[in-house]
Point group: C2
Chain length 415, copies 2
């Protein structure tokens, strides 16, 4: 159905992008912790940031850079280990210095550099190690560096998250790739969901930002691990035009196709975060239909995916339609309970607001099978379907189950 | 400070109220499961109900009864075992029949009876057992029956919840008592927070409902165990005038005093629910000051008390100010992070948006001591203080920690 295909390469799959990830000594573990994604030429840049009132210095800094008309960027510079949040003026100075030093080493203007950080809140970046690492980072930049960058931005994630796709636009090929990190919305004192997307299409700035905002609403804004927004959440998308395709400057079939690609990439990266949720044993996908609007449907889906009771039931392999219905009811969206329907995989659990007879053992087995046979992101998805009425609004949210390990990871981190 | 004193008797402490709680065979365990609270004369009745779209029959039924001008009630009839939610027309008929049969047995008009149910969602009330139990229920009504009623309304609660107070109004005594139940907002397929308050003051209907709504906003609406609103949440308050005190019909010192008493009773009952949260090892009290409004402060307090990461940290005895600050930031309330301050008990953890040096071991010990030495609702309260700015808005919320047992209880209930 999709008129694109999945390729390798992550953020360096698109033309004119290089990336690197090195170990600069910021993480106590000695793992890779400093990443750069660089475009050969100025790229149209769009961003979506955390809505919290407690923000990291890199978020405020980069948000400013993207405020102007038609903002452009050459590079995303990201460290893992310290979140540089709640660090005051010193943290701001660190952010500025890291950008300036990287700009000098790359010979690119400092206002073309976007920053991101993830790690322990309240800790300043280890700025000496960061600066000392820049020459190695720059010399490591490569057209095959996507995987290294993906590795360097993760913290407590169990796996790296990458995707790339390509599609034909006329007789030319557009490529788009991305990477993300995140495992709790906030980790044990560690922060953040990050997402970086690169693309070689040519697209106007306003359109690109609109596409990214809409794609975020259908992806990163629709995942929940524990309901906790972080101080550092950041999503960037760069489009550098190196595919040499005609510029997309107005709505139409090409814009629609590019946005569909962007949405697919963002959804893939967002689902990968939800699946890697702390302690998760499966991905949970909640699809809501019949709402008055897509916004309403997304809200109901998010509420179900975020319910501790639904999440516990899934961990316990319990086809508990009552908790699903109750979570739908409290989402803050008006609907008649007489039209509520709930499915779990192939099983119809509830219709017209009332429970149906169903094979409880088989439904429980569906939950067990999906969780235990699971190959990552392929078969271990528990699908919940909810219809709330007769409208045409629909939406999907993703989450994970709530396990003993979530409590263990989050209770035993610092003491 | 308070000009009232705590007395015994629960919902039967006030003049002119009787109550009973019996085992009618609705709970599989054979425990008490049918309760009635009856006023000798018509009482001014106020109610606050769940805001969810998926409501039990008893909620819709009783909400209708309280719609008229100056609604009055003689009795609250409550069963535990089956929630009578998601039961359609049959469930509605059960609600109507239970009220009619009880009304006949008591010789009181059916429109003077309020209903409440709690138990498994999607199950109809065992109506035969219910009806068969009514004669015993009626003959058991007594002026000492408060404790029995408190026992009959609980489900997975570990303890019953009761309070009563009395105060002088001129040369006469006003008494007010209450009981509540709840342990998860929704239990393992079990539902509900219920709260019933009785009072022998004379008060006008409009004032009483306003007082109850405000008291609920400062109590039951400020507790969270798992963020899941139930299908059956109900709070009733009856005032029957049997204290023979002058009727309170307009704002003034007497109205203020009565509202303070009502708020105290509701807060006591609400905190008891939070402390009895599934798997909880301590009560968590979050006080927020410095907000632009009380509403804002209450919202921030609720968000912190409901954060899975904060709750896990407390269970892990981790003085994790970063999670508290991050939760405050995402509450949807605007404030400057430069004025944020966080305290934990006596320990100042953060000021002006930046972390302070503090004795981590001592702070962790504070968490340990409060949780392990704790006598119920007395010393086992973890106190979190947050100041978000320079406004005068303040508010308190209550919750509990998130433990392995919460996951166990909710994952292993039905399968």
């Amino acid at each position: 159905m999709a008129d694109w295909k999945i390729i390798s390469g992550g953020v360096t799959a698109a033309q004119g992008f290089r990336a690197a990830g090195i170990a600069a000594g910021l993480k106590p573990s000695g793992a890779k912790d400093l990443a750069a994604i660089v475009s050969d030429v100025d790229a149209i840049a769009a961003g979506v940031f955390t809505t919290t009132q407690v923000r990291a210095a890199c978020v405020d800094y980069s948000h400013q850079k993207l405020q102007g008309k038609a903002p452009r960027a050459r590079a995303i510079l990201c460290n893992a280990g310290q979140a540089n949040a709640a660090t005051g003026e010193a943290g701001w100075a660190d952010a500025v210095e890291s950008a300036e030093q990287f700009g000098q080493a790359m010979a690119i203007p400092v206002d073309r550099i976007l920053l991101a950080s993830t790690g322990v809140i309240g800790q300043r970046i280890k700025i000496k190690e960061f600066i000392d690492g820049i020459p190695t980072l720059v010399s490591s930049l490569s057209e095959d560096g996507g995987a290294d960058a993906a590795q360097a931005i993760i913290t407590t994630d169990l796996v790296t998250k990458e995707i790339a796709i390509e599609a034909q636009f006329g007789d030319r090929t557009v490529r788009m790739g991305g990477t993300s990190k995140g495992s709790g919305m906030i980790h044990p004192n560690m922060a953040t969901m990050l997402g970086f997307v690169t693309c070689d299409a040519a697209v106007s700035s306003g359109l690109w930002q609109e596409m990214l905002s809409r794609a975020a609403d259908k992806s990163f804004n629709q995942i929940t691990v524990d309901g906790d927004t972080s101080t550092n959440d950041t999503l960037y998308a760069l489009a550098n035009g190196q595919s040499r395709t005609p510029a997309i400057t107005s709505p139409g079939p090409d814009a629609d196709k590019l946005e569909a690609m962007l949405t697919f990439v963002c959804q893939h990266l967002a689902k990968a975060i939800a699946r890697d949720g702390e302690g998760a044993t499966c991905l949970v996908e909640v699809e809501v239909t019949g709402a008055d609007s897509d916004d309403d449907a997304r809200k109901v889906a998010r509420t179900i995916a975020g319910s501790s009771l639904v999440k516990s039931a899934i961990f316990g392999r319990d086809p508990n339609w009552g908790r699903i219905a109750a979570a739908a009811g409290r989402a803050g969206v008006r609907f008649s309970q007489d039209t509520l329907a709930v499915t779990l995989g192939e099983f119809a659990l509830m219709k017209n607001g009332q429970p149906l007879e169903f094979d409880r053992d088989a439904a429980s087995k569906y939950l067990k099978a999906t969780a235990e046979d699971g190959e990552y992101l392929k078969t271990d998805t528990v699908k919940i379907g909810v219809s709330v009425g007769i409208g045409s609004g629909s939406g999907i949210a993703w989450g994970c189950d709530l396990s003993y390990d979530y409590v263990r990871i989050n209770a035993e981190y610092t003491t």
